[in-house]
Every structure is written in structure tokens, then in C-alpha cells.
């Protein structure tokens, strides 16, 4: 099996989807010759032309609205928002239109669109280009929300998103673009709504999303030396959420850490805590649930401050060790 980057995996899925289905087209700012903000659409305009890989004006509301209108009338648009922070400018079309049309119309229209966007911190891009706002979309009935964390997941889930008949919000993490992994050459799909056990363990479950998955895996390696066995669960899709896989793991370890890059306040991590707390498994926990998340501050530009604003490998290691100690008492 060959190895490719997360960015290449996304590019490959887009390429294949354009080749497989004439109704698929891409639209977004600078996605043509420039190849998109991070290069995910590189080479696709040369291959498929300006009609199907469509550069747009800097008009996020029109990009999203045009995607909605095209999706309702037979096309399968994939729109790119260069940074997930720009969703704010396209919010009405995604939240009030795309998410609601199928329901509001009594099932008589569908909006099969994909919104791809780059999220997260770690590039020094500061407060308006570094947020993790996926929880906003996870709050809206009618949208599906995907956060792939490996090249394999990125390609398979993107294919699934494009084939899905609903609006799908697809969050790519900037720091993952250059990470590598084994990815099949041929097109394949990963079902939306199935979590992945990224590492098997017996002592502590870490439920991590986005960039926190790789950080948790690194932390798990470190504590392994101390004899602590960590299981890492990656929900992969926030909506629909595979509660069963999460709860099965927590039931096994009885100790759980939840790690997100997004701020904790009213965040998706709160949702994960609630799911565990509301289940009978909570009565068997050996220690209270631990939650690691972004500090409740706008993302600072300066490198050290930026790192301080989100959980790092060291804080995950510390949390695991602390949890094991508490559970011993």
C-alpha cells in the first residue's frame, strides 16, 4: 500500500468524484490555478476546466447560496471556504437554508452539497483564521458534520460526503494537511456516523476530535512506558455521532478524558460528557470525567501563546497520569 498526505488524499477524492459524476463541481475562492487556500484543489481546474472547478468572487454568502440552489436542482456542488472562520459570512445559507430545506419542504427537495473548509490553530494566523467552530454546525438539525483526522479517513469520508444526499460540513485541520498515511489508490467510502478506535487500550479512554487525535496517540505512547494503557477513540463524524463505540470503550476502561481543540464552553466536548453522564456507565466510572479543550480566549497570534491556548501532548500526558492517580484513591 502506498502512503500519501492528508492533502493529497483530499485532492484525490475530489479528482475521482469529478471523474465519476458529471454533476459534481467545485466552487470557491482561488480554487483554480491557485489550487485553493491550502492546495487541496491543485491541478483540478487544468484537468476538468473552469466550468467544473469554478473560481468565485470573494462572496461567501453567494458561494454557499449558489451551492444550495445548484444542489436543489440536480447538481452536487462541493464548495470550499478557505478558512472555517469564514463560515460566519455564509452562515444564513448553511444554517437557515441548506440545513432546513429538506424538512421545511416536507421532504420534497434535497440539498446534496459539501462544504469543505480548513479549521484549527497552529499556523500563527490569529483569531480570525484559527478557530474550531465545528460545534456550531453540530448544533443544527439537518447538517452532517465530519472531522477527518487521517489521510485514509479524509479520502473515504469525503467520498461518502459527496455521495450523501444532505448538506455535509467537512472540516479539515490545517496541521494535518502534510501528515502521511496509507491510502488505497481506488475510490472508497467510509460510512458517515461510525467512530474509529485509533488505538486499543485498557486503562483510560481518550475521546479526541480533530488534531487532538494525533496528540492523544502521542501521549498514549509516552504513558505506555509507565505501564498505562490508553485507548483513543476518534468519533470522525460529530453528526451523526457513533455513541455506541464511545460508550463501549468507556465501559471497558471506566476512565475517560475528552480532548478537543475547540473551547470547552458550550462546546462539543460538553455534549460528549453529557452522553456519558446520561448513560448508566457513568455510575461505574472510577473518577470524574476529565475534559481538555481550548482556553476561553480568542486565538492569539504569538507562537507560544497560541500553543498555550490549546491542549498539547504534555497536558494530555499529565491528564492521563492524574486520572490514574485519582482512580487509585
Amino acid at each position: 500500500m502506498r502512503t500519501v498526505t492528508y492533502l493529497q488524499a483530499i485532492n484525490e477524492a475530489l479528482d475521482e468524484a469529478l471523474g465519476l459524476d458529471e454533476h459534481v463541481f467545485l466552487l470557491g475562492e482561488d480554487i483554480g490555478v491557485y489550487g485553493g487556500g491550502f492546495g487541496a484543489t491543485s491541478g483540478l481546474q487544468e484537468k476538468y476546466g473552469k466550468q467544473r472547478v469554478r473560481d468565485t468572487p470573494i462572496s461567501e454568502s453567494a458561494i454557499a447560496g449558489a451551492a444550495v440552489g445548484a444542489a436543489m436542482t440536480g447538481m452536487r456542488p462541493i464548495m470550499e471556504l478557505q478558512f472555517s472562520d469564514f463560515i460566519t459570512v455564509a452562515m444564513d445559507q448553511l444554517v437557515n437554508q441548506a440545513a432546513k430545506i429538506h424538512y421545511m419542504y416536507g421532504g420534497k427537495a434535497t440539498v446534496p452539497l459539501v462544504m469543505r473548509t480548513a479549521a484549527g490553530s497552529g499556523t500563527g494566523a490569529a483569531a480570525q483564521h484559527s478557530q474550531s467552530l465545528e460545534n456550531w454546525m453540530a448544533h443544527i438539525p439537518g447538517l452532517k458534520v465530519i472531522q477527518p483526522t487521517t489521510p485514509y479517513d479524509a479520502k473515504g469520508l469525503l467520498h461518502a460526503a459527496i455521495k450523501d444526499n444532505n448538506p455535509v460540513m467537512f472540516y479539515e485541520h490545517k496541521l494535518l494537511y502534510q501528515t502521511e498515511g496509507v491510502v488505497p489508490v481506488e475510490p472508497y467510502t467510509i460510512p458517515i456516523g461510525v467512530a474509529d478506535v485509533k488505538r486499543l487500550g485498557t486503562d483510560v479512554t481518550i475521546i479526541a476530535t480533530g488534531i487532538m487525535v494525533s496528540k492523544s496517540l502521542a501521549a498514549a505512547e509516552i504513558v505506555k512506558v509507565k505501564g498505562i494503557s490508553v485507548e483513543v477513540i476518534d468519533p470522525r463524524t460529530l453528526v451523526p455521532l457513533d455513541k455506541e463505540t464511545l460508550l463501549t470503550s468507556v465501559e471497558k476502561t471506566n476512565r475517560v478524558i475528552i480532548a478537543t481543540e475547540a473551547v470547552k464552553n458550550s462546546g462539543f466536548s460538553s455534549e460528549l460528557v453529557s452522553i456519558i453522564a446520561e448513560s448508566k456507565i457513568s455510575m461505574k466510572l472510577k473518577a470524574p470525567i476529565v475534559r481538555l479543550g481550548g482556553e476561553f480566549v480568542p486565538m492569539p497570534a504569538q507562537k507560544a501563546l497560541e500553543a498555550q491556548a490549546t491542549p498539547q501532548i504534555a497536558s494530555l500526558v499529565q491528564a492521563v497520569e492524574q486520572l490514574m492517580k485519582e482512580a487509585d484513591i
Partner: protein, 332 residues
């Protein structure tokens, strides 16, 4: 019935008798809703378009069934004009499972894709980019469909208007932006909210032909739209039409009409009512008799009353319907 010698207006592109019937259907549909509301039989809100029937019918009539309209919160006229089944619209208003949207949309979201009604919108200005998207879809698939996007005067101050017009122009999309300037955005007079004479001037900024017309003259409206449809269908790109009209009723059910004078309203109602104007014209051209007009109104009233009586017997959605259609399984 006595056949009247028709002296048809040679300058009109529309069957005016047929249009008059539609205009009466729209008006009496809404008057019926008003009556139902007054006796507490209608739940929710609605926005009446009484006084704007010529823009509704003149806008939609030049379109083919497969062409799309995108509508607004003040949508009943647009929907009826595009051919949405009136019984299903009553059913939607009365919260029946048989409604256009199975009772889940209510007044503001009536849609009927089967007749080219892409749906109505509760967010002012949201339809502009959606219409551009539908037009893009038609262009890319080579279907030759045209999209007519209705919007109010107030909506032209939304960012989505400017983004969508620019997009439609650079891609030469087959879309017509049709602004019903009824003088007020809720309580705000458009004169206070823009610093230009005509909203159609805004087309120039985006390289789009803009025209302002008398929106209460059915023939003028339909002729202007016909021209724009032909242009769009032949690859000539978008047009911005501003049709001047007036809403006789308030913005919605809570409106006390404190912001405009009774005299102003009376002037429009008595001297510039689109239905009265069309009737007058048809009478002058001997295309209709006064008796026929009375019969048309009466039969339409009866038709609407019968529909309501029948719809009242329909089933309401069940409890299980709450959870259906949140996500789609199949593509439509």
C-alpha cells in the same frame, strides 16, 4: 355565454383574461386566509400580497413550467401564479398533512418543485444566491431553464443581493432578479433606506441591465419579463427588474400601519389597484363584460370556499411526522 368580440391588446404577451382569473384567485385566496385568521382558524403568521397581483402573475406567466421561481415571505401570489396547487396551499396554511410541505413549512416556505416553484424564504434576501445557483445548474446542465427570483425592495439592502447579482453577471446566468418595490420593508419606507431614485440603478454596478416599470400594469410587467426571459434563455444573462407596486395590507398580522397614511393607501387602492386596472382595460377593449367580471369573482369565491371546506376534513400530520425528513435518504 355571449361571445364578446375580442379586440386584444396587440402589445401584450399574455392571455389577459386568464391572467385576470389568476389575479382574482390570488386575491380571494388571501382574503379567505384573512377571514380564517380573524375567526382563529389559522395558526402562525402570513404576509399578504393583496395589491401586488400583477407582479405575481406578470412575473410568472412568461415562464415555462420547467422554469424556476424563487419566492419570498410574501409568496402566496408567486406560488399560485407559477401553478402551485391552491388546495395544497390551503392545506399547508391549515396545518394539514396534505399541504404542499406536509405542514412543516407553513406560509413562508411553500414550495412545489414539480411546477417549478423552488420555494419561498423567510430570510430576506436569501433567495438571490439560491436563484443564481439554480440558474448555474441550468446553465451547466444545458437545460435552457430560466430562473425568476422575486424579492422585495428592502431585500436589495442585503449583502446577498449584491453578491448574487455580481455572480450572476460574471457567469452570465439565466436569471431575472424581479424586485417588487411595494414601497415598504415592514414599516420602513424605501425612500428612507436608499439614497438613489430607482433600485434598478443598482444593476449598473454589476454590469446588469436594470429597468423600473409600473408593477400594477399587468401587460407592462409581463412584456418586460418576457423580454428578460428570452434574453436569459438565449444566453444573454441576467436582468434586474424593479416593479413599482403597493401592498394594501400591513407587513404581517401584527402590523398597526402607523407608518403610512390612510390617504396614501386609499389612493393606491382606488386608483392603482392592479385588478381594477386590468378589468378596466379589458372592458375598454371589449374583451370582457361587467357581468363576466362579477361571475368570475363569484365563482372564484365559491371555488376557494369549497376548497377550504374540503381541506378542513384532511388529516393532520401524526406525531411520528415530527422526525421525518430531517435527513434525506434518497436524492430528489
Amino acid at each position: 355565454m355571449k361571445q364578446v368580440t375580442a379586440k386584444k391588446d396587440p402589445n401584450t404577451s399574455i392571455d389577459e383574461r386568464e391572467a385576470l382569473k389568476k389575479m382574482w384567485q390570488i386575491r380571494i385566496f388571501e382574503e379567505t386566509l384573512q377571514e380564517l385568521f380573524d375567526v382563529g382558524e389559522l395558526y402562525g403568521t402570513m404576509h399578504l400580497c393583496i395589491g401586488q397581483e400583477a407582479t405575481a402573475v406578470g412575473g410568472a406567466s412568461p415562464l415555462n413550467e420547467s422554469d424556476w421561481i424563487v419566492s419570498t415571505h410574501r409568496n402566496h401570489g408567486h406560488c399560485i401564479a407559477k401553478g402551485t396547487d391552491i388546495r395544497s396551499m390551503f392545506a399547508e396554511m391549515l396545518g394539514k398533512k396534505t399541504g404542499t410541505n406536509e405542514g412543516k413549512g407553513g406560509s413562508m416556505h411553500i414550495a412545489d418543485l414539480a411546477v417549478g416553484n423552488l420555494g419561498s424564504n423567510g430570510i430576506v434576501g436569501a433567495g438571490f444566491p439560491i436563484a443564481a445557483g439554480a440558474a448555474l445548474s441550468a446553465q451547466m446542465q444545458g437545460t435552457k431553464q430560466v430562473v425568476l427570483c422575486y424579492a422585495g425592495d428592502g431585500a436589495t439592502n442585503e449583502g446577498s443581493f449584491h453578491e448574487a447579482l455580481n455572480l450572476a453577471s460574471i457567469w452570465q446566468l439565466p436569471v431575472i432578479y424581479f424586485i417588487e418595490n411595494n414601497q415598504y420593508g415592514m414599516s420602513s419606507s424605501i425612500e428612507q433606506m436608499v439614497n438613489i431614485e430607482k433600485l434598478s440603478e443598482r444593476g449598473k454596478s454589476y454590469g446588469i441591465e436594470g429597468v423600473t416599470i409600473d408593477g400594477n400594469d399587468l401587460s407592462v410587467v409581463s412584456n418586460t419579463v418576457s423580454k428578460a426571459v428570452k434574453k436569459a434563455r438565449n444566453g444573454g444573462g441576467p436582468t434586474l427588474i424593479e416593479a413599482l407596486t403597493y401592498r394594501h395590507k400591513g407587513h404581517s398580522k401584527s402590523d398597526k400601519l402607523k407608518y403610512r397614511s390612510e390617504d396614501e393607501c386609499r389612493q393606491w387602492q382606488e386608483h392603482n389597484d392592479p385588478i381594477l386596472r386590468l378589468e378596466k382595460k379589458l372592458l375598454q377593449h371589449n374583451e370582457i363584460t361587467s357581468k363576466e367580471i362579477r361571475q368570475l369573482e363569484q365563482s372564484t369565491r365559491q371555488e376557494m370556499a369549497d376548497l377550504v371546506a374540503s381541506v378542513k376534513l384532511d388529516d393532520e400530520p401524526t406525531k411520528a411526522d415530527l422526525w421525518t425528513h430531517v435527513y434525506a435518504e434518497e436524492k430528489i
